[in-house]
Symmetry: C2
Subunit: 200 residues, 2 copies
């Protein structure tokens, strides 16, 4: 799919979406800071003015790219009709790991930007992590949670978020250097650590 | 202990140490960015010139303050002759939690600065986290590790580091708002999550 569709007439919304798709794809090999308006204009075959028209500023463009990236992560880790919640979780974690693996440069730059001073990126990132962990509870459902002694409380959600921080740290480190750990072993450990954290 | 010791003659090393002590103490109520050379000069009753003489630049001063802060964390979480490694770990985590609680503003600013763009702070921070988790393995000792099926491998150390990221995220969130979770319950969950992560 080329963004520089030339003569094809597109709505502003579609065009903006395509530009964001391109921005998010550039994260595969570039840090967020490296994705400038100039680079995007060149890659998309559009003017810098048009990009400023769509996104306002470089910072707003970066926020939009990160928002798109986290939407991508949310989509690719969606549940796939697997009945056992932990099995489902492990499959979703695998999809997350593959995303990090394929977008390592950009993903690492994104989490650093989010963790650092940039408040809006931080908010987008934390909201995304929260949405991912909320979905885990939703998938498990009240009945299954009760069966393993988990109550859906603010404390449970806080602990799940901390578990997600462990997952991210481990996955980023593993993609950088897997040491002597297989992909399945890593995913299994991270998955099975969760019930212990939330049930106490 | 006042840093402005007036007429008392001190070695440059002692004076530098005292200034760093003061800087680290200021983290209790101030972010790293708020701890300027001007503020420290005022609080210590010394000239700004003297501070630049000791630390070179504001950035170097901040790195030195963070180094001191993580040394403090390392010291207060030191093992206390408790035989059971998990019990020992839980006591150490409690000391860490108390440090975060007493230095919340500064500690949060420190981890954000370390996670963000500032490479030297990042290095100091990651080295400190690594030293803390290395000590956990050292305390447990090869024999006890073997008893629970843990081998001291690069993968184990990587997973321990990820577990430490979970601990930090949970402790910072808990200090900010404990929800319905008691201190002991939090510490116990974090402690007991560790064997599962490293043994698989």
């Amino acid at each position: 799919m080329s963004v520089s569709t030339g003569r094809v007439r597109m709505s502003p919304e579609s065009r903006r979406e395509q530009l964001l798709d391109l921005g998010a794809r550039l994260l595969a090999t570039r840090t967020l800071d490296e994705i400038s308006i100039e680079l995007l204009a060149e890659q998309a075959g559009v003017s810098r003015g048009l990009l400023y028209h769509y996104f306002g500023s470089l910072q707003e463009f970066h926020v939009a790219v990160v928002r798109r990236a986290v939407e991508d992560v949310y989509a690719i880790t969606a549940p796939r009709d697997i009945e056992d919640p932990l099995e489902q979780l492990q499959v979703s974690l695998g999809a997350y790991l593959d995303y990090v693996s394929e977008n390592y440069t950009g993903y690492v730059s994104l989490i650093r930007a989010a963790a650092g001073g940039h408040e809006e990126l931080r908010r987008v990132y934390l909201d995304a992590r929260r949405a991912l962990t909320d979905r885990i509870l939703d998938i498990a459902g009240a009945e299954q949670l009760a069966a393993i002694g988990v109550e859906d409380t603010p404390a449970t959600r806080m602990l799940l978020d901390a578990w997600a921080a462990m997952v991210e740290t481990a996955v980023v480190a593993w993609v950088d250097d897997p040491r002597d750990l297989s992909r399945d072993d890593l995913l299994s450990r991270l998955t099975h650590a969760l019930p212990g954290v939330v049930t106490g």
